[in-house]
Symmetry: C2
Subunit: 202 residues, 2 copies
Amino acid sequence: MPKDRAPTRIQKKNRAAILEAALNVFSAHGFRGATVDQIAAEAGLSKPNLLYYFPSKEAIHTALLSGLLETWLAPLHDLDAGGDPMEEILSYIRRKLQMSRELPRESRLFANELVQGAPRIHDALSKDLKALVDEKTTILTGWMDQGKIARLHPYHLIFSIWALTQHYADFDVQVRAILGDEDPFKGAEPFVDTLYRKLLAP
Amino acid sequence: MPKDRAPTRIQKKNRAAILEAALNVFSAHGFRGATVDQIAAEAGLSKPNLLYYFPSKEAIHTALLSGLLETWLAPLHDLDAGGDPMEEILSYIRRKLQMSRELPRESRLFANELVQGAPRIHDALSKDLKALVDEKTTILTGWMDQGKIARLHPYHLIFSIWALTQHYADFDVQVRAILGDEDPFKGAEPFVDTLYRKLLAP
DNA sequence: TCTTGATTTGACCATCTGGTCAAACTCACG
DNA sequence: CGTGAGTTTGACCAGATGGTCAAATCAAGA
């Protein structure tokens, strides 16, 4: 285990390679389904070498999740009370959909964890996530009070956005099995845009 | 392994107990995360005894999935070209939401499988599911042509229904972490109802 | 009751998996 | 160079896990 001095060139490179490999493996097989050997192989390291950088499989998973949670929630963080309500929400939705396209592994990493009861991030959900959502639903409710957008249950509004956008990453196989060659996002973007324009129109 | 005569009383009871236990365990931990011992214990059998009824862990999983696929797709099957378009669709949505509430384990069983690339049901997706969806989107498109409902991408319309309704079962922990004590479905039902009424209004 | 097939189990096995460790090797820097 | 910290690895281990098997037990019809 490297001391806690400034990380060396090699440490930076290997830690990054491990996390990248772990993202591939954990997102495709879940925590239990992933093996340390698999991650090590994909990172181009031997297993003992990998365990020189992270003390355990669980530690890699935790590092991944907590490192990516911020990225994952950034779009919601950026929802601005000062902006135009409809534009703010639609822009949030577009960013979420874009993340589904560009960061599907991250989406599935969280999906795997959530479907199985989030044993490793339960805390982050009921603390950080809840706090963030509460902050933003206050903004949404404010806009509803001002008649800027239709009155809806703000929590369920947010759930609907998550469900709709992440569906394309999480259940990618199913979507592709049905759409065939068609690019899922080509149709998804105008669809969700239309959906939320109609839904939110005051 | 019992011969393929008519199943005895004991065979019926034990097979049912095994599938029930397997549903609990597979839906909570995924295929890889589930252990045969765990399923056997939950079914009240010893491991060798369980393996007397099913030849392998994989066989249990396959039996479960194929046995439940029909149940899972029944609501879509019932979408009737002869009925009132808006009522047919809203009734489909209500049934899907009801299944999310009453059969969350089944939902998570499929979610687990799908998130990890559906290695064991890829065939059923691109054959049975695709055929069913194609049949029903034809109906939807017909209704759109007649101006009975708004014109939308029919595949994405169906995806949106799946995403919205199954979200409450699949990501239950997250929903509860945010809603607290509030019953998720109390708010969800009017929300999705409103959503699709607005979306589908011609 | 007796017999036969169905059911159940304890003991066992091979493999996989997360993790350890001491020894070897490499790198940067004085 | 030389040297000490940083890095890598082969060999190894303990426990978990899927699965097997022969022997024991049970159930039901003749």
